[in-house]
C-alpha cells in the first residue's frame, strides 16, 4: 500500500496541522418541536488540514507525484496521523494486542507497567503495526528499574533495527529511530535480559525521527490504512527557489 510521503526532515506533516473529527449523527425534529438525535450508520470521518510552507522542490515534487499517483481523491493510501500514537493501548500493556514472551509477566504499577522476565532468554512485550512501507518512525518509552540497572532493547522487526539503553532507578528515555524496508506489518518490541525487571511508561510510536509528547492511544492506532485526498485539485504557490507553499486536506473513516 502506498503511504503519504514524509518531508526531508522525516515529518509527515507541517507544524501547522489541524485534525477535525466529524461525527455521523442523525437529528430529527418533529412538528411538536422535539429533537431526536442518534448515531448514524458510519463511525464518522477524520480530516487533517495541513498547511505546508517553504517546502523544498524535491519535497513538493514528491507530494505532487503522490497526488498524481493517487489520481487526486480517487485512490486510497496509508496516512500516519502526526498527532496520534501509532501503537494501540500504550496505557494498558495487558491488552491482547500486546504479545508477551514466554516467562514474562506484565503487571500494572502506579506509574506504568512492570515487566518481569523469568524466562530463560531475553523477552518482553511486542506489538504488530500495519506499516508496510518505509517511513521513518521513532519508537520510544521511559524506563526504570526497581532493583539493579538493566539493559532495555527496542527493536523494529522488518528493518532489523534495534537500540539498547541501560537504565537505573530514575526514569530514562530509550528510543529507536529508523526506516522500515516495506516488507509488511512490522513488530515493535521491548525486550529485557533473562532474570531482570523493568518498569515502563509513555510508550510511543510516531512517524517522525524524534519523540514528541506521549499521547494515550486508548485502543486506536494513528495508522489510517484507507485515507484519501479531500480535494479534486492541489494548489501550490511557488515563491522562489525551494519555497513551495501548499495546503493539503486528507480524510479517512474514523
Amino acid at each position: 500500500m502506498r503511504i503519504f510521503p514524509q518531508l526531508l526532515t522525516g515529518a509527515t506533516a507541517p507544524e501547522q496541522v489541524t485534525r477535525r473529527r466529524v461525527a455521523n449523527s442523525v437529528v430529527t425534529r418533529n412538528s411538536s418541536g422535539y429533537l431526536k438525535a442518534s448515531a448514524g450508520e458510519s463511525t464518522g470521518q477524520v480530516e487533517w488540514d495541513m498547511r505546508f510552507r517553504s517546502l523544498t522542490k524535491s519535497e513538493w515534487v514528491a507530494l505532487e507525484t503522490f497526488y498524481d499517483e493517487s489520481e487526486g481523491p480517487l485512490l486510497p493510501f496509508v496516512f500516519l496521523d502526526p498527532l496520534m500514537n501509532l501503537l494501540r493501548w500504550t496505557e494498558d500493556l495487558t491488552q491482547s494486542i500486546w504479545v508477551v514472551s514466554g516467562g514474562v509477566t506484565v503487571t500494572p504499577t502506579s506509574d506504568g507497567y512492570l515487566i518481569v522476565n523469568n524466562g530463560a532468554g531475553s523477552g518482553g512485550v511486542a506489538q504488530q503495526v500495519a506499516i508496510d512501507a518505509t517511513p521513518v518512525c521513532c519508537f520510544s518509552g521511559e524506563f526504570r528499574t526497581l532493583g539493579p540497572a538493566s539493559q532495555v532493547t527496542l527493536s523494529r522487526s522488518a528493518a532489523g533495527l534495534s537500540s539498547h539503553g541501560r537504565v537505573g532507578s530514575n526514569w530514562e528515555e530509550v528510543l529507536l529511530t529508523g526506516s522500515g524496508n516495506g516488507d509488511g506489518p512490522e513488530t515493535f518490541a521491548i525486550s529485557i535480559p533473562a532474570g531482570s525487571s523493568v518498569e515502563v511508561r509513555g510508550l510511543q510510536l510516531e512517524a517522525q525521527p524524534a519523540p514528541g509528547e506521549a499521547t494515550l492511544s486508548q485502543g486506536r492506532s494513528g495508522v489510517f490504512e484507507e485515507a484519501y485526498f479531500v480535494d479534486g485539485s492541489l494548489d501550490v504557490t511557488v515563491r522562489g527557489l525551494d519555497e513551495y507553499d501548499v495546503r493539503v486536506l486528507v480524510e479517512s473513516a474514523w
Binding site: N24, G40, E41, S42, G44, Q45, E64, Y67, D68, E71, G72, P73, L74, Y228, F229, V230, G232, S233, L234, D235, V236, T237, V238, R239, G240, A253
Partner: protein
C-alpha cells in the same frame, strides 16, 4: 503556434493548480462515490516583473488568440514543463506599473482545457 513562455526578470509567485479530473460525491450518512471525469489538467496564476516589451508581447498574444478563445501551448515559468491546449482566462493578461524603473508587473492567468 510556438510555445508561449514567460521571460521574467523576477517571478513574484507562480500559483499552480493541479486538477485531478476526479469528482467526489458525498451522500447523507457518510458514503462517498468517487469517479474519474477526465484527464488531469493544470491552471496558472503568475505574477512577475518583466520588461515593457515582454508585457507588450503578452498583450499582443492575448489579442491575437482572441482572449480565451484560441488554444496555445504554455511553458510553466517555474517547472519549464510544457502543457498543451491552454487558454487565457477572461482578462488573463494584466499589466501594471511598478516602482522598478522601466519594468512592469505582469499577471497571467491561464487554464488548460480538455482537447
Amino acid at each position: 503556434m510556438a510555445v508561449l513562455h514567460l521571460k521574467a526578470k523576477e517571478l513574484v509567485w507562480v500559483r499552480r493548480q493541479r486538477r485531478s479530473g476526479v469528482e467526489v460525491h458525498r451522500f447523507v450518512g457518510g458514503a462517498t462515490q468517487r469517479a474519474r471525469t477526465g484527464a488531469p489538467l493544470r491552471s496558472w496564476d503568475v505574477l512577475a516583473y518583466v520588461e515593457g516589451a515582454v508585457a507588450s508581447y503578452w498583450r499582443d498574444r492575448f489579442d491575437e488568440l482572441q482572449g480565451p478563445v484560441q488554444a496555445f501551448e504554455f511553458e510553466d515559468p517555474e517547472s519549464r514543463e510544457v502543457s498543451a491546449n491552454c487558454h487565457f482566462e477572461e482578462g488573463g493578461v494584466a499589466v501594471e506599473a511598478s516602482d522598478r524603473g522601466p519594468d512592469v508587473r505582469l499577471r497571467l492567468r491561464i487554464r488548460q482545457e480538455r482537447a
